[in-house]
């Protein structure tokens, strides 16, 4: 573990050239009985105020672990961050003291969890759980905090919020519980919101309501959002830019319009081709061949090479860097030109 070396909180106000949040060459590994699991192997992405970055990728590719590292909620050990920076307004969060880190967590960078439905405490009323944020972090009186809770429940459109503030989580539907989770996460006006599959368990009408709510909150406060999801429909709807992960690293970065039209990495291309389409009914769906990489024993060279239709000999030995394609696009593939052109292998 590295020693915490600073107590200085990230500045507020203007950003200059610095992005709001920048993850750089982040590595996370887990010590397990079977060996070292390298879950995150050099992830870099950045976020500006008001922007929505969608993080896509293979199940198990390290999307949630990266998010947990940003939030500072990984259990260390077994987790370890051997390398990398997480800069929030120019300050490396990994170098902050625990105390300073706590000031950032939940207040300036907040998260909506993947398993939100079980994240609410069943024995406390939702009003108590929301108002606790204000009592603990803002030192408000109980009465003021409850009033703020009602205000927030209104904001996330819980009907009759004043009457329902003393209800327990199980008395709400899944969609409403998810909105309560969002209310808690935005309670302290965070500058960055990380939403880890916020609508996966919800039907599409509730999903549409929640995504619209998030977009509105973003417009109001210029909050930056990292949206982790598997739903390429939702991404197409709301994202400004996309980062695609495979085997613990980013394999492609691009603005939303480019990636759907012309993917520049074979993995991204495979993902897009796997979407079920009406005209493919009755046929086998396209699926990327082979197994996901074993994080205990990563393939040599490019981690995608055992499954890649574009593979050439050097892919087995040379790990591709993140090649810059244009000012806003990059791809970790030696043959990104061929992929862009659509020539198979």
């Amino acid at each position: 573990m590295r020693k915490a070396s600073t107590d200085v909180l990230p500045a507020e106000g203007g950003l200059g050239n610095e992005p709001l949040l920048a993850v750089e060459d982040l590595h996370v590994e887990f010590a397990t009985r079977a060996g070292i699991v390298r879950a995150v192997n050099g992830v870099s992405y950045s976020l500006s105020p008001g922007e929505t970055l969608a993080v896509l990728g293979e199940s198990g590719s390290g999307k949630s672990v990266t998010a947990q590292a940003i939030m500072g909620i990984l259990d260390m050990p077994p987790a370890r961050i051997p390398k990398g920076e997480i800069r929030f307004r120019g300050t490396d969060l990994l170098k902050l003291s625990d105390e300073a880190r706590t000031q950032v967590r939940g207040q300036r960078i907040a998260m909506v969890f993947q398993d939100a439905l079980s994240a609410l405490n069943p024995v406390f009323t939702v009003g108590w759980q929301i108002s606790e944020m204000f009592r603990v972090h803002r030192g408000m009186s109980k009465r003021d905090a409850v009033n703020k809770a009602v205000e927030l429940m209104d904001k996330v459109r819980i009907p009759a919020a004043r009457q329902r503030v003393n209800d327990y989580p199980h008395q709400f539907s899944g969609g409403m519980r998810q909105r309560i989770m969002i209310a808690m996460s935005i309670a302290l006006d965070p500058e960055v919101l990380i939403a880890d599959e916020p609508t996966t368990a919800l039907d599409v009408t509730v999903q549409a309501q929640i995504m619209e709510l998030l977009a509105e909150l973003q417009r109001e406060s210029n909050m930056g959002m990292i949206l982790i999801t598997h739903d390429l429909g939702v991404v197409a709807d709301v994202a400004d830019k996309i980062a695609v992960m495979y085997g613990g690293r980013i394999v492609e970065n691009a603005p939303v319009h480019d990636i759907y039209k012309t993917p520049a990495h074979p993995y991204t291309k495979g993902l897009l081709e796997s979407i079920p389409r009406v005209d493919l009914k009755g046929q086998e769906l396209y699926a990327i061949k082979g197994l996901p990489p074993n994080l205990l024993d990563m393939p040599t060279g490019c981690a995608f090479h055992p499954r890649c239709p574009y593979r050439q000999d050097n892919c087995v030995t040379d790990n591709p860097p993140l090649y810059e394609i244009s000012g806003t696009r990059s791809s970790a593939c030696h043959y990104w030109r061929e992929v862009l052109d659509g020539d198979q292998g």
Binding site: E58, S59, D203, T205, D237
Partner: protein
């Protein structure tokens, strides 16, 4: 055993109410949550019925009653002509082997203290005839491979897998006993689209090989369309529309189905600002106190007086070829999914 195309499951007027109680020491029933409130449908061998609907409309409860994990309040579930609600002992055990489930929540449905091998092999404890002791390990490894997991990971624990990987463990367990019916409750919602495609291909392949029948519950309407022969739409404990996949998707007749389809996000960012959607206002009413007449009327833009007075039955309506439960059913073109 049923033969191809033969009816394997028949559900009649199924009702499941959960008592709503007050008081801690002396529980007093003050009402009931009408989670499933009069649902009927059939399923044939080798067929897939997709079930979609609002969060909380009773899909998982229906699944649990089908599995005999919950007792129905009334109504019947017949598998090969035998009512599972009335079976007990050895007969219930045999019937249970025939209907298996893949669960919704990969985080809580796997026992954290058991290895993946134990979890997948668990059904063999009760049904030793399927995998004799010596063959167990090999069978489990086969199942791991079938769902796209590394067979060498047989001794790992659930927390060492990602959400998506855990979902595949649940699927392997559901397949272990080679049942005739598999109830899949959100089996692919935690998976990336490529693994999702693998799993769907796998489910379809197994269906062809083994003539399995599926109940497939999911929120992703393009996935449901791909895999289903027929699709049922639920709202607040009732089935509001049922028909062949093309009928439901291309000619939806119930306003709720129309709203649902229009909310499906399209995986193409072009023209996203112009897309038309029916955004449903408000929240679903409480299942403890559903609206009179048509349950959708509090959010329906077509509601008339009769909708509050008379419950619309699920039946074939003028101008449509499939059943819907709306007094003013009419087909309506919506954005195509996928």
């Amino acid at each position: 055993m049923a033969t191809k195309g033969e009816r394997i499951l028949e559900v009649r007027d199924l009702v499941k109410h959960f008592p709503l109680t007050q008081g801690i020491l002396f529980k007093k029933q003050i009402g009931a949550i009408k989670a499933v409130d009069g649902v009927s449908f059939n399923l044939n061998k080798g067929e897939t019925l997709g079930i979609v609907g609002e969060s909380g409309c009773g899909k998982s409860t229906l699944a649990k009653v089908l599995m005999a994990l919950e007792r129905p309040t009334s109504g019947s579930v017949e598998i090969n002509g035998r009512d599972i609600g009335k079976a007990s002992g050895g007969e219930l055990k045999r019937m249970r082997r025939n209907i298996q489930m893949v669960m919704q929540d990969p985080y809580t449905s796997l026992n954290p203290r058991k290895t993946v091998g134990d979890i997948i092999g668990e059904p063999f404890d009760i049904h030793t005839e399927v995998a004799p002791k010596g063959e167990r390990r090999r069978k489990v490894q086969e199942l791991l491979e079938v769902v796209g997991l590394n067979p060498d990971h047989i001794n790992r624990y659930p927390h060492q897998f990602s959400g998506g990987q855990r979902q595949r463990i649940g699927i392997a367990r559901g397949l272990a006993l080679q049942p005739e019916i598999i109830v899949c409750d959100e089996p692919v919602s935690a998976l990336d689209v490529s693994i999702q495609a693998q799993v769907i291909n796998l489910l379809e392949r197994l269906q062809n090989e083994l003539d399995l029948a599926y109940i497939f519950i999911a929120h992703d309407l393009s996935v449901v369309r791909h895999i289903s022969d027929r699709v049922a739409v639920m709202y607040l404990g009732k089935m509001v529309e049922i028909g062949k996949d093309a009928e439901i998707y291309d000619k939806p007749a119930h306003p709720y189905t129309q709203a649902l389809l229009s909310a499906v996000p399209v995986p193409d960012p072009e023209g996203r600002e112009q897309r038309e959607r029916i955004i449903l206002q408000g929240d679903p009413p409480s299942p403890a106190n559903p609206p009179s007449g048509c349950r959708f009327r509090t959010r329906c833009w077509k509601a008339q007086e009769i909708c509050a007075e008379e419950e619309p039955l699920l039946q074939i309506r003028p101008g449509t070829a499939h059943e819907s439960a709306c007094h003013f059913a009419e087909t309506h073109d919506v954005v195509h999914v996928g």
